[in-house]
Point group: C2
Chain length 160, copies 2
């Protein structure tokens, strides 16, 4: 069964290549990016400006994959791919929750982007606390590696 998607826009960020691109949005608090939504979807952006945060789903277009395991940059051993956020996924869909700063026609200004410039956008969803904020969570290998989450750049797209 093949499922065919097409980009609905392009994400523009200051990050031109995988090396130096921050891991997840928590590391790029001062950075701005832009989401250019294709004009045919303009009407679908109505009401989005009421939301402070949005979920971006996008295509990891530079993913070299898939792999079944990978070594997260935070960690020193191989982990199952689905227990990581690495790009080398069977379906290379990336997910980032970013701050929505401004909506101007088809151009969204976002805070804290963590994807490569030119990333094809697949979907935009509003971030809603009732659905998306969970409490009392356990985070497995990540919890123990968490103290190492200080570095702003990673090697997630290269090699392992």
């Amino acid at each position: 069964m093949n499922i065919v998607f097409s980009p609905i826009g392009i994400i523009h960020t200051p990050f031109m290549e995988p090396e130096g691109t921050p891991i997840q949005t928590v590391f790029s608090k001062e950075t701005r990016g832009a989401v250019e939504v294709f004009d045919q979807y303009r009407q679908a952006l109505t009401d989005l400006d009421g939301f402070s945060h949005i979920i971006l789903l996008y295509y990891f277009h530079q993913s070299r994959g898939p792999k079944l395991t990978c070594r997260p940059f935070l960690d020193n051993q191989e982990r199952g791919l689905f227990a990581t956020r690495a790009p080398a996924r069977p379906n290379a869909i990336g997910l980032s929750i970013v701050e929505l700063i401004k909506v101007e026609n088809c151009l969204l200004t976002i805070g804290c982007p963590d994807m490569i410039d030119g990333t094809p956008l697949l979907d935009i969803k509003p971030y809603i606390g009732d659905f998306d904020v969970k409490a009392n969570i356990r985070t497995g290998w990540y919890a123990t590696a968490q103290n190492r989450v200080q570095t702003a750049a990673d090697r997630r797209f290269s090699g392992s």
Copy 2:
């Protein structure tokens, strides 16, 4: 530009049709579901059991779309599609954060499913507070409609 994905598994829930399927996972706290991951991806599930919550990305296979606006079941007026979580999206990708109760070989037991039985699974990601929990959020039209979020079933797949 076409992007071709294939299911990595199937989601099983008690919900056989759109009518009666809960809106988002907050309404199905007592419900259990199962994620059957195809055997070829077994190794990618390693380490997942350390996480209490996972993000499921899936294909809204019964979506009648796309539409550029829709009337959310919570609301009484049309909203821009990207400001809603409705299935009628240009790329019909669904996102739910569910509790991970058990991992047994390729079968995950999950809590609070909100999708239809037989939904094709596209990706599994670990839910990580540092990346996925945001504070001080504004939720636009949803905030004003929030008080109406009491009903467990919706008409999100039918008509508008």
